[in-house]
Symmetry: C2
Subunit: 114 residues, 2 copies
């Protein structure tokens, strides 16, 4: 039937996990759990994504050739370190541009100077 539903609390975070992961990995290689924690502090505690959001993105990024991973064992714990490929770097650049466009467009409409 598809009658209209309520738009109660949209999240504004579509595509943001991917963008932030790309940005973090551009600075240094990281493993998943570390990325989860880093996003929170890199955004000044503003944003936080659960593991269930981050890991699937990491896997699809790998499929897409944006990252490659290397297993490493530290203190008895296995970690999958991810690092950016050239493709990943290009993606970061294009997504950053896109983010700026959307972000400044919305801010303009909201009456903020860019």
């Amino acid at each position: 039937m598809n009658s209209p539903e309520k738009r109660s609390a949209p999240s504004f975070t579509n595509g943001v996990p991917l963008l932030l992961i790309l940005k973090l990995l551009a600075q240094k290689e990281m493993y998943g759990y570390e990325i989860v924690k880093s996003i929170h502090q890199a955004t000044g505690e503003a944003l936080s994504f659960p593991e269930g959001s981050i890991y699937p993105v990491l896997h699809s990024m790998e499929l897409d050739g944006l990252v490659k991973n290397a297993e490493r064992t530290v203190q008895g714990r296995k970690r999958l370190y991810y690092s950016l490929s050239t493709r990943g770097r290009n993606k970061l650049e294009s997504l950053t541009t896109e983010w700026r466009k959307v972000s400044s467009g919305v801010n303009l409409a909201l009456g903020w100077g860019a």
Copy 2:
């Protein structure tokens, strides 16, 4: 099976139509087609949403009590003018706050000064 898919081109626009519609209607009442055109120019040509995105949002906003509409005929054409309710104004405020949080959080992570 649900194997990981590619994240090729996320849009960064989740929730943005709702936010922009609220903002526009806070300034003056408008009809759907007008909103579609206005978003494009209010965002400095950065953003543009098709009618198929806007009308369903309008309908759900009405369900949610954020707007009410009034039919008016102008030059033989029927228009549905939407205006904000108090609830709509509150929603605009909370969503704006949320947008600022996400927006500045991402920009911080990207290395931009807020």
